[in-house]
């Protein structure tokens, strides 16, 4: 396991997450997990099984109570917050159940925000890349629309384009189709699958939908905070 963890794009080793309190709540325990480059992995499980918690710890949005998280073989879970923020900016892209687009900005601007944060490109260059990403999502006609002028499926595709803005090696998606009809959901999954298989990114998606989970390369099933099977 250790060898694969170091070779993997993203991995967790002996990881546990316990919420402190008078009665500590164990969200995750004994997690050993690794995903290779170009792999499309589904994390499945019942509601409350800890799938989202696992995704957040992998995405450095939460800190494990014990064990570690490796990104490109490097222990990232104990880095100072600024370093973790930098890793999120450079290597990770998030898609959530709710689109979480900034409501005041156009689709194009929403995709450009992570690029601007990263910097190092000209304004016109960023604009061109954002338009290209949105075009790939089939949204060329909606560049200057604000989120409230888009449908749910369109918003989620803008969110995916935003996750791809800085060309991350790893995409983490938390129930990305939770609010979509099945046609839109299929389309989003097709896009995620292409990101893994055609572009060589690691895509980890949390879902409770077994039909969609079957579209991935591998399923990791969680029960009560532990991996089974």
């Amino acid at each position: 396991m250790t060898v694969t963890a170091i070779a993997a794009a993203i991995a967790a080793e002996g990881m546990a997450r316990v919420l402190p309190g008078p009665v500590p709540v164990t969200l995750l325990h004994g997690i050993d997990f690794a995903a290779a480059r170009g792999e499309f992995v589904a994390i499945t499980g019942a509601s409350g099984s800890g799938k989202s918690s696992l995704l957040y710890v992998l995405g450095l949005l939460d800190t494990p109570t014990s064990g570690r998280v490796l990104i490109d073989g490097e222990d990232a879970s104990r880095l100072p917050p600024e370093e973790q923020a930098r890793l999120r900016l450079m290597k990770l892209g998030f898609v959530f159940q709710f689109h979480f687009l900034l409501p005041e900005f156009t689709a194009l601007m929403n995709v450009m925000i992570p690029m601007k944060k990263k910097g190092g490109r000209g304004e016109g260059d960023m604009r061109a890349r954002a338009a290209e990403l949105l075009g790939a999502m089939g949204l060329s006609a909606h560049l200057s629309k604000r989120p409230d002028q888009l449908s749910g499926g369109e918003r989620q595709r803008v969110a995916i384009a935003r996750a791809l803005a800085n060309d991350p090696a790893i995409i983490l998606a938390d129930e990305p189709t939770g609010n979509l009809d099945s046609a839109s959901a299929q389309r989003v999954f097709a896009i995620l699958s292409a990101l893994a298989h055609d572009e060589g990114r690691t895509v980890i998606v949390v879902t409770h939908d077994p039909v969609l989970a079957d579209l991935t390369d591998r399923q990791v099933h969680l029960v009560d905070g532990g991996i089974v099977g």
């Binding site: 989202s52 949005l61 923020a85 890793l87 159940q97 979480f100 900034l102 005041e104 992570p114 990263k118």
Partner: protein
Amino acid sequence: MSLVLSIAVSHLRFRRRQTLVSVLGAALGVGFFIGIAAMMQGFQRDFVARVIDVQPHIVIRDEFRHPPPQPVEMVFPGGAVQLVGVKPKDEVRGIRNARAVIDSLRRLPGLHVAPVLSGQVLLRFGAKDVATSVTGIEPEQERLVTNLEKDMVEGSLDALRTSPNAIILGQGVAEKAGVRLNDTVSAVSPEGVALKMTVVGIFASGITLVDNFDSYALLKKVQILQNRPNVVNRIRIKLDDIADASTMARRIEARFGYRAESWEEASRNVLGIFIIQNAIMYSTVGAILIVASFGIFNIISTVVFEKTRDIAILKSMGFTEADIRRIFVLEGLAIGMIGTLVGWLIGYGLVELMASIDIKMEGFVKAQGFILYRTPKHYLISGGVAVVTATFAAWLPARRAARLRPVEILRGGG
């Protein structure tokens, strides 16, 4: 426009009305400060200028600040001496050896000296009695020391010499007695001496207290009236450089022993009122700005509360705590700066509005309308305070926003 700034601006535009109210709060604080400060400082500076104009810079009086030391105290300077029942000598009041004092003062450079004797006199004209303080002067020396000549509205200073038993009245005194130029009044002193005097001049300094109580006559006449021949009870001094007044007064007092008052000391109670006035002004305006900063605190807190999801998503994208804090501090800064600019306009308008109001008032000084002091300093002070309080008011919610943990907000997918 930088990314952080454009996000900050988008938040403020989203809450347009609340932003407007916060900006207005800061603007009113700034505007009122400029208006009130221009009015108060205008009045104060005008008053000081007039006081300096009318009064001599230093007055030496025939009094002592401390009782004279007794011989036994001089022999035992550190001893535990208690003297009981000391009776002061019954002396003729006045500055002793005034001629020699004046001569030695005249030898100092940058200094003009005039001896006077002043005392209470009752003016009687027809059925009216008016109490006035008559100052006996030597016109030739007086005009070097005070601006009496400039303040004459009728008659002239030289007429004191040319007509016998001449008197110059303050405008208020003349009005109270119903006296006009060339009228003859009878003056009665507490010593019981009575003189028929002719009004040869009326002056108006603009300082109510002076105009309502002071009169001038020749030094010789006042000495007769007060039955104090050859006595001088005050020496008035004018300096070329007014800034020296306090030090010079102390030096004169140390040398001659007589109480020497600089104009600052003489007007101390009024200058003290100014300090209280300023304290009231600063606390009033400070209160407005504090209320305004509560408004700013409120709007930024609301935005932080409403935008928790945005904050979470920005953090997941790789924004650091410092980035998030900067967004919200910038919002406060923007409100403070726009409020300052609007407040400058309000303040400018307020000052010009007051300048256009015409009112007659008679308090410490006579004036027509407000006397306004316009200075960029007021703009800089008010702007600086507004921007600093706005930034600080935003900083508290901004810190809270920066510390938000994204998981707690994003969780919800199960």
